[in-house]
């Protein structure tokens, strides 16, 4: 081979392996934590319902944790999300681990074969995730009601911040952007084209920061659940702000 084909490292300002290593650590940690939470079988304290258990679904004849009836939707949504696909293709599968870094695995089918061809069904997970999001908004509103009276506690703000971040993530999704208007060629001649154009324009800035929403909402879900569990264990109290 000629010398010009010899791989040579990309020269970024940070080591190329740092980002994939951080991604693997955080995502793996989240998967372990989410599994542990789901196996607990409960996650509520007063008017607070852990996002891992919302909406509450109990099927008496099948004795499994209520979380399992729900978690498939947000988990599947994230697993097929275009941003997370980039993250895990790079970090877990090294396809590529970083730009310009040589790959050792020669067989590559991308998203043309099982299992990754399933990622093309992302839109169906989006529909399910939007349904879950509606329940999370209801939970966030409930988090401002204590014994029938409206109030603001630290937990209320955490629930609100979480659902805002989840909304930014879900409604900034590429499939949602496609659904609201991206699938049109001609806004001016489509039925409701102007409204869809404005929707598409509104979703586009959210989509531009999809990675931001993806990570912050991942952390906020964990933060809210941890907060609820600390309250359940009476380790902390819930400060009243208003």
């Amino acid at each position: 081979m000629a010398d010009h084909t010899v791989p040579h490292p990309y020269a970024p300002s940070i080591p190329w392996w740092l980002q994939p290593a951080a991604t693997v650590t955080i995502l793996s940690g989240f998967i372990v934590y989410a599994t542990w939470v789901a196996l607990q079988g409960h996650g509520s304290y007063g008017s607070y319902l852990s996002p891992f258990y919302s909406p509450q679904v109990v099927v008496a004849s099948i004795p499994i944790s209520p979380a399992f009836w729900v978690l498939w939707a947000p988990a599947g949504f994230r697993a097929t999300c275009y941003y997370y696909r980039k993250a895990y293709y790079r970090s877990y599968f090294a396809d590529p681990i970083s730009c310009m870094i040589p790959e050792s695995r020669r067989r590559y089918a991308g998203e043309t074969a099982f299992p990754f061809i399933v990622n093309n069904l992302h839109r169906y997970l989006l529909y399910a995730a939007v349904a879950v999001l509606v329940f999370l908004w209801i939970d966030a509103i409930h988090a401002f009601v204590f014994d029938g009276r409206v109030g603001i506690r630290l937990g209320s703000l955490l629930f609100l911040a979480n659902v805002v971040l989840l909304s930014g993530y879900t409604l900034g999704c590429h499939a949602f952007r496609h659904l609201v208007g991206g699938n049109l060629d001609c806004f001016s001649c489509a039925r409701g084209g102007q409204a869809r154009f404005r929707l598409w324009q509104g979703v586009t800035p959210l989509n531009h920061y999809h990675a931001f929403w993806a990570w912050t909402s991942l952390f906020s879900v964990v933060a809210v659940d941890v907060y609820v569990r600390l309250l359940m264990a009476h380790v902390i109290s819930d400060p009243v702000l208003f």
Partner: protein, 250 residues
């Protein structure tokens, strides 16, 4: 006068090596200036493709210190005292020194069905801003092929027989989203276009000198359009019982 040390690839596909040159640094100097200095003063046989020297023709693509870049847009002072290594773009066959054969791209381009307006609507057309806003970005492409060079499907998996590469996803997106184009290219995308091979790792976006959001605004919307036609059972049912396929945007 301060000098920069250039390591420039010299040779052919079967043999070649890096050759070191000392080049005087001038204010505002770019890597292409250094290459020109070498040609003019040190070795007139150095082969390099260039044209506008204004980051608009896309001719002077190379790998500068391991990153695909336009030599005319890469300042020498950003490297400080470090040597500057210039190699040809790896993904295309080498002709000589820094010049590669990019003709594969032109052959791929010929496979893409051209703009096809409605035969019964020959124009002149009234174009509305909301319909063409998305297309401006795609028109910025200067065909430097840096995105093709960095794409791991082409670069690492030798996927030129399976995937057209990011540049042509941008071109197909510009045609697919055109309000007056009547042709669907999703069959091409799923077939010989090979869009499924792209796993959206966004390296193409990182190197684009025109800052085109290749993945977010071209490849992913095309993947969604392909999913509309091939991976959406609900739409398939609608098509089955709804009869004729409704053109987009009508």
């Amino acid at each position: 006068m301060a000098e920069a040390r250039f390591h420039v690839f010299r040779g052919y596909a079967k043999h070649g090596d890096l050759v070191t040159y000392q080049v005087p640094i001038t204010e505002g100097m770019v890597v292409l200036d250094g290459i020109h200095y070498i040609q003019a003063h040190l070795d007139g046989t150095l082969a390099c493709r260039w044209n506008c020297k204004a980051a608009k023709c896309g001719s002077c693509s190379a790998e500068v210190n391991g990153r695909p870049r336009l030599m005319c847009k890469t300042r020498v002072d950003e490297f400080g005292a470090r040597p500057i290594t210039v190699r040809p773009i790896k993904v295309f066959p080498l002709i000589k020194d820094l010049v590669t054969d990019v003709s594969w791209n032109y052959r791929v381009n010929q496979q893409i069905p051209p703009f096809t307006p409605d035969a019964n609507d020959p124009g002149p057309w009234k174009m509305y801003p909301e319909d063409v806003e998305r297309l401006y970005e795609f028109r910025k492409c200067i065909e430097c092929f840096l995105c093709q060079d960095v794409c791991h499907v082409l670069r690492e998996h030798e996927g030129m027989d399976r995937y057209m590469g990011p540049r042509f996803m941008v071109r197909i997106a510009a045609l697919e989203m055109h309000p007056k184009d009547t042709r669907s290219r999703t069959d091409l995308l799923k077939g010989s276009g090979g869009i499924g091979f792209c796993n959206i790792t966004k390296c193409c976006e990182e190197v684009c000198p025109e800052h085109i959001h290749i993945t977010d605004n071209a490849i992913i919307p095309l993947k969604e359009r392909m999913a509309d036609d091939y991976f959406d059972p609900w739409r398939a049912l609608l098509r089955l019982f709804g009869g004729k396929k409704e053109p987009r945007g009508t």
